[in-house]
Amino acid sequence: MITLQWVYILAGAAFAAFALLGLADASNPRRLRNALFWGLMAASMWAGDRLGDFGNGLLVIALVAIGGLGLGRGTVGEVAPEVRAERAARHRNALFLIALVIPATALIGTFLFKHLPALVDAKQVTLISLALGVLLALAAGHALLRAPPGLPLQQGRRLMDQVGWAAVLPQMLASLGAVFAMAGVGEAVGAIIRLGIPEGSLLGAVIAYGLGMALFTIVMGNAFAAFPVMFAAIGMPLLIAGYHGDAAIVSAIGMLAGFCGTLMTPMAANFNLVPAALLELKDDYGVIRRQIGTALPLLAINILFIYWFAF
C-alpha cells in the first residue's frame, strides 16, 4: 500500500538533491550553510521516525541556528531572458497545461483513491495524489519540452535557495501549536477573552476570533504566525470545543480573516512597502491605502461566513 512514507522518501530525495547541487554551486559564498540546511531537511524526511523526539528537537535547533545565521544564493542555473522569451514563444500555453497537471492530479486522485483503500492509504489521499501529480507533470514536461534530465532539479534548487529558511516557517508554526496546546495557552487566553465576550454569545465569539486574527496579523505582519495564537485562544476552545463549529471551516476562513490584516499593515513589508518602493511611490503607504477599502468589508464578510457556514 502506498502511504505517506513514500511521499517522505520522495521529498527527502528532492531536499537531498537541493543540498548536493547547492554544495556544488561555487557562485554562492554560503553554499555550505545551504547544503547543511537542506541536508537536515532531507534527514528529517527520511529518518525522522528513527531519530526519537529529542533527536528531532536537536535537528530543529540546528535548522534554526543555520537559518538564523542566514542562507545564501548563487547564480548557477539562471537562464538568459532571450532564451526564455524564445522558448515561451515556441511553447506558449503548453506551459500552463503542464502546470495544470499537478492540481488536476491532486483533485482527481483525492476522489479516486478513496475508493482504492487497498492501493493507497485512504487517510492521506490528497498528499499522495499531489506527489503523483508532481511526477506526472515532470514526465509531461520532459516529453513536451525535451529538457535535459537534470534541469528540473537544478532549477528547483535555484527556487529553493530563493525561498531560503522561510521554507520551514509553516512547519515550525504548526509545531509551536503543539507546545501551546500542551501548556494550556488556549485556556489562559480564553479565560481573559471570555471576560469581553457576552456569555453564550456565538456571534460575539466569532467576531472576537475574526477580528483577533486580523489584529494579531497587523501587529505581527504575518498571518501564519497569528494563526496558531488565535486558534489556541478562541478557535479551538470556544468555537470548536464550546460551540461545536466545523473545524475545517473555522480554521480555513479564519486564516483568510488574517490575510485581510496582512493587507492593512506596514509590518508585512514584502507585500506592502517593497512594491511601493518598486513603483517609486512618494507615499510609502500608497499601496496599503488602496487596500484598506477592500480589506475591511472582506474581513466583515469572512466573519459572517464563519458564522453562517461553520455552525
Binding site: V60, H91, L130, V163, L169, A181, F216, M220
Partner: protein, 231 residues
C-alpha cells in the same frame, strides 16, 4: 497565566523583526518553561511535533516542476497574456488582471506574476495609460494612486486565490496544527472553503475598481470628447 509569556515573545519577536525561526523557538521555550516543563521535555515535545508535521514542508517538491516551466518561459508567457489583456478602462484592465492572478494562484502558480515580475514592468504602466485615456493627463497625486491600485490588485488577487490550491503553506499549516489538537482533515476540505471568500474579494474589489472608472470618466466627459478614440 504565565504561559501567555510565549505569546508575548512571538508578538514582540515578529514586531522587532528578529529571525522568525528564532522567535518561534524562543516562544516555545518560554511557553514550556512557564508551564513547568524542563528543557529536555520542551525540546522533545517540539521535535515530536516537528516530525509529525513533516508533510507541511512537502509542498516544496513542486519546485522542480515550477523551475522547469520557468526556464522554458512560463513567466514570459504569463507576461504576454497580461500584455494582451483587453480593457479600455483602468478598472476593467485591473479587474481582468485580478481574475488572472486569482486563477493562476489557485492552480499553484503563485510566482508567475508579482510586483517585480508583472506589476512594475506591465500592469502599472498599462493602468496609467488607460487612466490617461479616460481622464486626460493625470496630476502626480492621481498617477501615484493608479500605481497604488495596480500593486493592491496584485496582492488581493494573490491572497484570495492561493488558498484554493491545496498544496500551499497556509493550508498544510492548518492541517498540521489541527492534527496537534487531535482533529484530522484533508487539505481539500480546507481549500474548498477559500472559494466563497475568493468570490467575495473579486466582487468587492471589482466594485471599487468600477467606481474608480466612474470617477475618472466623469471628469473627462464634460470637458472634451475629442480623445474618445484614444482608448
Amino acid at each position: 497565566m504565565w504561559v501567555l509569556l510565549g505569546i508575548a515573545v512571538i508578538v514582540a519577536g515578529f514586531m522587532l523583526r528578529f529571525n522568525p525561526l528564532l522567535v518561534i523557538l524562543a516562544s516555545a521555550l518560554a511557553t514550556g518553561l512557564a508551564a513547568g516543563l524542563d528543557l529536555v521535555a520542551i525540546v522533545s515535545a517540539f521535535g515530536k511535533a516537528f516530525n509529525e508535521t513533516r508533510y507541511v514542508s512537502i509542498v516544496w517538491i513542486v519546485l522542480p516542476v515550477i523551475g522547469l516551466l520557468e526556464a522554458y518561459g512560463l513567466r514570459e508567457r504569463a507576461r504576454a497574456l497580461i500584455g494582451g489583456l483587453r480593457g479600455a478602462t483602468v478598472g476593467r484592465l485591473l479587474a481582468g488582471y485580478m481574475l488572472l492572478r486569482q486563477v493562476t494562484a489557485a492552480l499553484g502558480l503563485t510566482s508567475v506574476a508579482g510586483h517585480p515580475q508583472t506589476v512594475r514592468p506591465l500592469v502599472a504602466p498599462m493602468a496609467l495609460a488607460a487612466a490617461e485615456a479616460q481622464a486626460g493627463p493625470l496630476p502626480e497625486k492621481e498617477s501615484e494612486e493608479i500605481k497604488g491600485w495596480s500593486a493592491a490588485t496584485d496582492n488581493i488577487g494573490l491572497f484570495f486565490g492561493e488558498d484554493i490550491f491545496l498544496a500551499i503553506g497556509s493550508i498544510l499549516l492548518i492541517k498540521g496544527l489541527l492534527e496537534q489538537y487531535g482533529i484530522i482533515v484533508q487539505p481539500l476540505q480546507l481549500s474548498v472553503w477559500a472559494i466563497p471568500t475568493a468570490i467575495a474579494a473579486f466582487l468587492i474589489h471589482g466594485f471599487r475598481l468600477w467606481r474608480l472608472d466612474r470617477r475618472l470618466n466623469a471628469r473627462r466627459a464634460p470637458t472634451a470628447p475629442a480623445r474618445e478614440d484614444a482608448a
